[in-house]
Symmetry: C2
């Protein structure tokens, strides 16, 4: 009987061409499948909760994979895979789940965190892990503008096309929470799903408002009329984004 293993995966996205398997590219999924193939003796497909772009990080990406048997405990799989994977990818948890579980289709909510370094000089430790904004940023404005996204909206105006347009672009954002600690500003989004580049486009819009380059009305307009001709949009850089958690 086949057994389904759920993996919670953390990675530093800097050295990888994103999550999704690609020919001739070093992706997180490819690294996982390569490690699993070495253990299982054959290639097995890994299903992730969602793709992350090149340079995007994860603390709690989730994935599942099916094996032909479950002679090894989930903890054995975790240890064995961590021994084979590069240190920039870690299996944080592993457990057997029911065959009904699907890393992508069973996901109910996700949390993404965006990190901004708001100071004249970027601390060396934050290279590739923050969006560095040297100009003065109005944090209270970030807190207020962030709230505009909460609720059920058609987010087509805050999505990028990935080849073909998405058919259903309505998503619900349960919570957006902005925090400041020293020079670090984080904006955390919890929602039932996120379109391609949605968090980075929302963050870009929030920052534009906080810099006085745009107005809140442009955000509310874009949420109300999601399919009108798109004006220029700011995409926050990939390195500031972390997939924090997937809820099932």
């Amino acid at each position: 009987m086949s057994a389904r293993l759920k993996l919670t995966v953390a990675y530093d996205g800097t050295p990888f061409a994103g999550w999704q398997s690609q020919k001739h590219a070093n992706t997180v999924q490819d690294q996982l499948e390569k490690a699993i193939a070495r253990m299982a003796g054959k290639h097995l497909r890994v299903h992730g909760a969602g793709r992350t772009d090149a340079g995007v990080h994860a603390l709690g990406q989730c994935a599942h994979v099916d094996f032909l048997d479950q002679k090894r405990s989930a903890q054995d799989w975790q240890r064995a895979l961590n021994a084979l994977l590069p240190a920039t990818i870690r299996i944080m948890r592993a457990r057997y789940v029911s065959p009904d579980f699907h890393a992508r289709f069973s996901a109910k909510e996700k949390i993404y965190r965006y990190r901004i370094w708001a100071a004249p000089v970027l601390r060396p430790f934050e290279v590739s892990r923050c969006w560095h904004i040297a100009a003065p940023l109005d944090f209270e404005k970030i807190v207020r503008t962030s709230k505009l996204f909460v609720g059920k909206h058609d987010f087509a105006g805050f999505a990028a096309n990935r080849g073909k347009p998405e058919t259903d672009t309505v998503r619900s954002i349960q919570e957006v929470r902005a925090k400041k600690s020293g020079s670090l500003i984080t904006i955390q989004f919890r929602g039932d799903g996120f379109l391609y580049k949605m968090v980075r486009l929302m963050t870009g819009a929030i920052v534009d408002c906080a810099l006085g380059k745009a107005f809140d009305e442009q955000i509310t307009d874009r949420l109300s009329f999601p399919h009108s001709a798109a004006a220029a949009r700011t995409v926050a850089p990939a390195g500031g984004l972390i997939l924090v958690r997937v809820f099932y």
Copy 2:
């Protein structure tokens, strides 16, 4: 008239062969001198508060350099050097100081922080930035053992030779503070000076005690009889160490 510029320097030590200038090696001092030479049109020597080893990081290393004139403001120097330096080295502050100031000889106290990741799996973001200890660590024991180093001692037993033995090995540690936040344990040392590898040897001894591999008495003995034949010592890895601040 010559002007002396004080630089506060942060760096991610991972890609560098330490602070100290070396032939055919990529060091932080070499990078700084190269950037300054491009601005000044000639080679000028940079004097650091102290050397850091390959892989050791800094949030607040200090250095000084003499110029032949002070036509540029200190802030201009900061901006210009940051534009030339790799992102892994940043000038956090720059200011002109009196010619009496010397980055090394005027230093009164330093703070070093050592970071330990105490959990079965090392988070990918902490690679090269922590000592990963998977075995259970007794944090309360770390707090207690750390205190043994406070005070004025001959630290010869907690120093490594750098070619020739040091003549004066007496140092005062004002404070050792251990903290725990989730899986991260930090041990912070404030003292009037530190011998070569002293922080990493003290940390190694503290961890050995917390793991039950050594006893506090071995530390107090080594402080009381610093020149007795050295038993095996544990050196904590370079990546966990940060030079946090230099006081003048």
